[in-house]
């Protein structure tokens, strides 16, 4: 029991996590704790390890050193129940990764129906509710490639939400979108944040970061260079790298 008392706070913790791709070290001794209902924004230059970091959180990537705990469960190579952990962590990708052979509704029903043991009727009810939440219930019977990018990304968010995750991970969810579609996705994410979801977002949308983030993490060269509240981060950046980065991105 004693190990489990730590479960809820923090939901995710990283202790000295390092990761290599061959000889290249992509993550260097990362220490991080994320609490329930916290909203984290991760930013940093290209190749700094942002994607690698959040993909380690649901073990789409393996780390080689240190420990990652999610809801008190350690993620490691020989764990038996990685799928159970993954079902509690929603993930939204830059390229949506919807299932093109399934309709929007079927995309949303798949998870609950196939792995949560929820019957079709109930799964459909939930899917419709989530599609309403992301404001595209009328697209339910279309196939993904019949939707705009912004709509597809909102379906991807709905698909994750249907699993009733404890945490949502976003990896540059608006980077593949045409400019005019960025705001519809960000609006959905803001709403999700307001509802109390624990969120970890890799994004360069600094307006979004300012609005919802509890903490902004700045990464460079596989390290966490700086983390702070949005106010401090934008108005009083400590490291030179952060200043340079902000100068580039805020113009």
């Amino acid at each position: 029991m004693s190990a489990k008392t730590k479960i809820e706070n923090p939901v995710i913790s990283l202790d000295g996590v390092s990761k290599w791709y061959g000889d290249f070290q992509a993550l260097k001794d990362i220490n991080l704790e994320i609490n329930l209902k916290e909203k984290i924004v991760i930013c940093g230059p290209s190749g700094s390890g942002k994607s690698t970091l959040i993909r380690c959180l649901n073990r789409l990537e393996a780390h080689q050193e240190g420990q990652i705990h999610v809801s008190g469960v350690e993620l490691h190579e020989t764990m038996k129940d990685v799928d159970i952990v993954r079902r509690d962590i929603g993930m939204v990708f830059q390229n949506f990764n919807l299932f093109p052979h399934l309709t929007v509704l079927e995309n949303c029903m798949a998870g609950p129906n196939w792995v949560r043991g929820i019957d079709k009727k109930e799964a459909e009810k939930r899917a419709v509710a989530m599609l309403e939440q992301v404001k595209i219930p009328e697209q339910a019977d279309k196939y993904p490639d019949q939707l705009s990018g912004g709509q597809q990304q909102r379906v991807a968010i709905a698909r994750s939400l249907c699993m009733e995750p404890k945490v949502m991970l976003f990896d540059e969810p608006t980077s593949a979108l045409d400019p005019e579609m960025v705001s519809e996705v960000l609006d959905t994410m803001v709403e999700l944040a307001t509802s109390g979801m624990t969120m970890i977002c890799v994004t360069h949308e600094m307006g979004f970061a300012r609005q919802v983030a509890d903490r902004i993490i700045f990464m460079a060269d596989g390290e966490i260079v700086e983390q702070n509240t949005p106010d401090e981060f934008f108005n009083n950046p400590k490291s030179d790298r952060t200043k340079t980065f902000l100068d580039q991105i805020l113009i």
Partner: protein
């Protein structure tokens, strides 16, 4: 494929091109002296005795032929696409028949006998050919699914076995595999009949080719599909069944259809084991009466008809998946 929306002038409708074409065709026909053939006979009212018609006869024959040929092209070019295709098909088919007719065959031969030779070919030969091919195709497909998964797995044993298998069975001529299985297995103490050996050889050989097709089909699905599925907590088998295979089917179907067609015809190789399929029967029956060509031609037509049916089924399946995509 994208067909351009701008229609170019048909070259056939340009006088200069038509003239050039006519001259070329005339020269072609003139080069082969056709006065001795059925065409010469046909034109004998004009050229007299074909054998004595000489240069004049040769010129007239090739002239008439080239006019017919070019007029034919010109007329067809005015028809709608579908009609064009149909007419050209029919004409080529009749040319093929004429070619076969020129062998001076005794076609009635295949209809005589009680039961007739044709009926024997169909009732026994065709039946056996279809039976062997269908069973082999089913087994080969099962092998291919397992083989493809093994080749994509991280399991060293699975990968090694699968890659050794595809290497070996794609590396040996099918005929050799048939002999090896039929004559080799009994050496190990497995007595195996001709038909099971034939089916084993066909399934193993085509299973190896289809393993590669299935593997490529599965690999062509973007990595993001696996990642999204994994992130939802799906297990490997579920991902394969519900996400990956349904998406690879449209990619797998065309080459697999080609394999089916090729296998149908390669099933003729098992005739070396004395199995009474189409090829064996054609050789056997024909040799008895020295009417080899008649029977071989009959077998050829039956194989051709079968592949046409398979092609139609393949086209229908492809269309079905294209609509969905």
């Amino acid at each position: 494929m994208f067909v351009d929306t701008v229609i170019e002038d048909k070259s056939l409708h340009k006088p200069a091109f038509l003239l050039g074409l006519s001259i070329a065709v005339l020269a072609f026909f003139f080069a082969f002296n056709l006065t001795d053939t059925i065409f010469g006979e046909f034109l004998s009212p004009v050229i007299g005795n074909p054998k004595e018609s000489g240069f004049f006869g040769r010129l007239v024959v090739s002239f008439v032929l080239s006019i017919i040929f070019v007029l034919n092209l010109l007329l067809i070019s005015f028809a709608r696409l579908k009609i064009q295709i149909l007419i050209v098909w029919i004409e080529l088919f009749f040319l093929f028949l004429a070619f076969a007719y020129s062998f001076d065959l005794e076609l009635a031969y295949i209809f005589i006998g009680e039961p007739s030779k044709l009926w024997l070919m169909i009732s026994k030969g065709l039946f056996t050919t279809i039976y062997i091919s269908a069973v082999s195709i089913a087994i080969a497909t099962a092998i291919a699914i397992v083989g493809a998964i093994a080749k994509l797995s991280n399991n060293g044993f699975a990968y090694a076995i699968a890659s050794f298998y595809t290497s070996l069975f794609r590396g040996l001529p099918l005929l050799l595999q048939i002999y090896l299985i039929y004559m080799g297995l009994p050496q190990l103490g497995f007595m195996i009949d001709a038909i099971p050996s034939g089916i084993a050889a066909l399934s193993l050989c085509y299973g190896a080719y289809m393993t590669e097709i299935f593997r490529a089909g599965i690999q062509s699905i973007p990595k993001g599909q696996w990642e999204a599925s994994r992130a939802l907590g799906f297990k490997f088998g579920l991902i394969l069944r519900k996400i990956i295979l349904p998406q690879s089917i449209p990619i797998i179907v065309p080459p697999t259809g080609n394999q089916f067609i090729a296998m149908l015809k390669d099933s003729s190789l098992v005739s070396v084991l004395g199995i009474w399929e189409l090829m064996f029967m054609a050789k056997k029956i024909g040799a008895k009466d020295f009417n080899n060509l008649e029977m071989l031609l009959t077998a050829a037509m039956i194989y051709w008809a079968l592949t046409i049916i398979l092609e139609m089924i393949q086209a229908r399946i492809e269309r079905k998946y294209q609509q969905k995509a």
